[in-house]
Amino acid sequence: MIVNRNITMTWWERIYLPEIFRGISVTSNHFFRNLIGFIPALLNKDKKRKIFTLYYPDEKVEFPPAYRGRPVLVVDENGTERCVACGLCEIVCPAKCIEIQPDETELEKERYPKSFSINMARCIFCGFCEEVCPKEAIVMSDECEIADLDRNKMFYKKDQLLISKNKLQKRLNYIKEIYGKWNY
């Protein structure tokens, strides 16, 4: 497919060299900063490192709420999952990785997922399941360290998916804000 991008450059950009040098200066700036930026922290333990890279896995980034990690099921204050096994995420998932067996429950919500599994080896982290869910019951968490050597272990069962609401509050607020405007 041909995408026609209409980029109109200014005169300054069109003379080419100044922008090239600007780019080189940004890159080399980062390069030298990373090269010597750790020295102050090495000499004085209280000082923070000034470099961009992290000592992963000892240090971790805190992701912004917009980050889409593995999808999880929200557990409400009363200790049960919010999900009512409506099957919408199951049908919307483009990777076809969700499988739900609904059943009847004595609780007021009438319907609950007897089993709920996500095949994380197939999930593409698109977030459609979160968007379609009428109960805000499935959300994208900030967990991304899910690699495994065994495909069978990537098959997440319901108990591995349940996460309490408090831990997901930031994402829950965020999706209310972004999907709220669609009047779902």
Partner: protein
């Protein structure tokens, strides 16, 4: 034949038709809740409003007869606005239950709401509370909040099942559907109310919450419950059957089916299905390969004199199976004895249910099978019969004589049982051949009035079980006289050549609703 104009198109229609009926016949869709083509007209939902020239107000399409020169418009601004208003009223007390409602995906209210783009409610007061998941009958669950009072269920019970359990009680916005005091919605056709309820107010207790309807595939088939052979759809997903729904067939079942027919799919996935061929070695039945089972039958049969072999067919078998079984017995085994079969029966009524409780006793009779004949059992007692080939287990169905029959059969030298389920009969057999239930095979059934209908394969057979046609041909091959063909359509071609009453039948002509044999 009045001629009238609908949305600018001039069309002819039969006299006495209402606007809605004429519109449907001409491919114009008018949204409606309470109108049902097989019930009387109620005109209570007001969803079907249309504009008719020279009538000052909008009028309901379902109850206005078409007259000569009428000019009808179904999609003007005025109509759409009125419809949207009706929808808004319908939704005032309707709960936001779609995520937990079984009807979602096949719900008229959901569909029309979506089509009319109703996203906001102006109603700020409390919704009317009602009973949730109330068991209004043994097989039907009722949700009062979801009911839109279209009265289809009431009319069904009064007009079709003629049992009249349901009525509308109270008035105004307190109106509710309920059964008359002291009775429950318990008739032989109660689950049809679930089908015709346009929303999720009435749901099937058995199907409830099992699977989402949008995951289900549908296969056109025939109900094996009784010799009426109602046309059905088998709804299945990933090899499991979830429900049976009626399919329109004006000659046979109109659009209804009975509650008992709906649970016939329960037999498919039970723990006592026969799944592998078994042969008796010593005193025990042992699993063997299909070829070994066929060879055992061939050897066993060849050892016994022709006039000492009997055959009992099945009233549940398809026409093709009856024909090939006949061929196997008469041509391959060279047996002169008649094939007989026992047909289970129950109480008939004058709507759908017929006396013979099997799919194809009529078809069996067309192929010369003697129904309700147990002369072979008598012959065994006399010592005239040494071997028996039985399809199905109806012979031990009658519990009064069951032990006697089993006792007699165990005297046989050689017993072959071809059946779907484990039973006392299969446990005394020498060879057990696991066969397919109605949802696992293709073929045709002949109903009690002679309508031949096609049934299709919806799900695969469990484990090593095979459709009966393949089994019969396997036996014939082991006997050294293989059949020319076992493709159901080719077998039917052969039948129409050889059996007089089936002369006009071939798969292309059957269509979805079948045709009548000439007898």
């Amino acid at each position: 034949m009045p001629t009238f104009t609908i949305n600018g198109k001039e069309v002819k229609t039969e006299a006495g038709k209402t606007i809605l009926q004429a519109a449907v016949a001409n491919g114009v869709r008018i949204p409606h809740f309470c109108y049902h083509p097989h019930l009387s007209i109620d005109g209570c939902c007001r969803m079907c409003l249309v504009e008719v020239e020279k009538i000052p107000k909008l009028t309901i399409a379902c109850n206005t007869p078409v007259t000569e020169g009428m000019v009808v418009r179904t999609n003007t601004e005025k109509v759409l606005k009125a419809r949207k208003g009706v929808m808004e009223f319908q939704l005032i007390n309707h709960p936001l239950d779609c995520p937990i409602c079984d009807q979602a995906g096949e719900c008229k209210l959901q569909q029309y709401t979506f089509e009319h783009g109703i996203t906001h409610s102006r109603f700020r007061e409390e919704k009317r509370p009602g009973r949730k998941r109330f068991k209004i009958g043994p097989r039907v669950v009722f949700d009062e909040e979801r009911c839109i009072l279209c009265r289809r269920c009431v009319r069904f019970c009064r007009e079709v099942s003629k049992t009249g359990e349901l009525a509308v009680f109270s008035r105004g916005d307190k109106s509710i559907i309920n059964t008359y005091p002291g009775i429950s919605l318990d008739n032989k056709y109660s689950l049809n109310t679930v089908d015709i309820c346009p929303v999720g107010a009435l749901t099937n207790a058995d199907f409830r919450f099992q699977v989402r309807v949008w995951f289900l595939e549908e296969t056109k088939a025939v109900c094996p419950g009784c010799s009426n052979n109602c046309s059905i759809r088998i709804c299945h997903r990933r090899g499991k059957v979830y429900r049976l729904l009626p399919r329109k067939n004006m000659d046979v079942n109109k659009v209804w089916m009975c509650d008992n027919g709906r649970i016939t799919h329960k037999q498919i996935e039970t723990s006592n299905r026969l799944t592998v061929p078994l042969v008796k070695k010593g005193n025990k039945l042992e699993e063997v390969s299909w070829n070994e089972a066929f060879d055992t039958i061939a050897k066993g049969i060849q050892k016994i004199k022709n006039n000492e072999i009997g055959a009992i067919g099945s009233p549940h078998a398809t026409n093709e199976e009856c024909y090939l079984f006949n061929k196997l017995i008469k041509n391959v085994f060279n047996i002169k004895n008649d094939i007989e079969c026992i047909v289970p029966s129950w109480e008939a009524d004058d709507l759908l249910i017929k006396k013979e409780k099997a799919a194809n006793p009529q078809g069996a009779r067309e192929f010369g099978v003697k129904t309700n004949d147990t002369s072979s059992v008598k012959k065994i007692i006399k010592g005239n019969l040494k071997a028996l080939y039985i399809i199905g287990n109806d012979i031990i169905d009658n519990s009064n004589t069951k032990q006697d029959v089993l006792q007699t059969l165990s005297k046989l030298d050689f017993l072959v049982v071809q059946d779907t389920h484990n039973s006392d009969l299969s446990s005394i057999a020498n060879v057990v051949l696991p066969s397919a239930t109605f949802a696992e095979k293709e073929g045709t059934f002949t109903n009690i009035n002679g309508f031949v209908q096609k049934t299709n394969r919806a799900v695969p057979c469990p484990a090593k079980a095979k459709p009966d046609l393949e089994i019969l041909s396997g036996v014939a091959k082991a006997m050294g006289r293989p059949f020319e063909t076992i493709e159901p359509d080719k077998v039917m071609d052969e039948i129409s050549k050889n059996v007089k009453s089936f002369k006009n039948i071939c798969y292309e002509k059957l269509g979805e609703t079948g045709i009548k044999i000439n007898n």
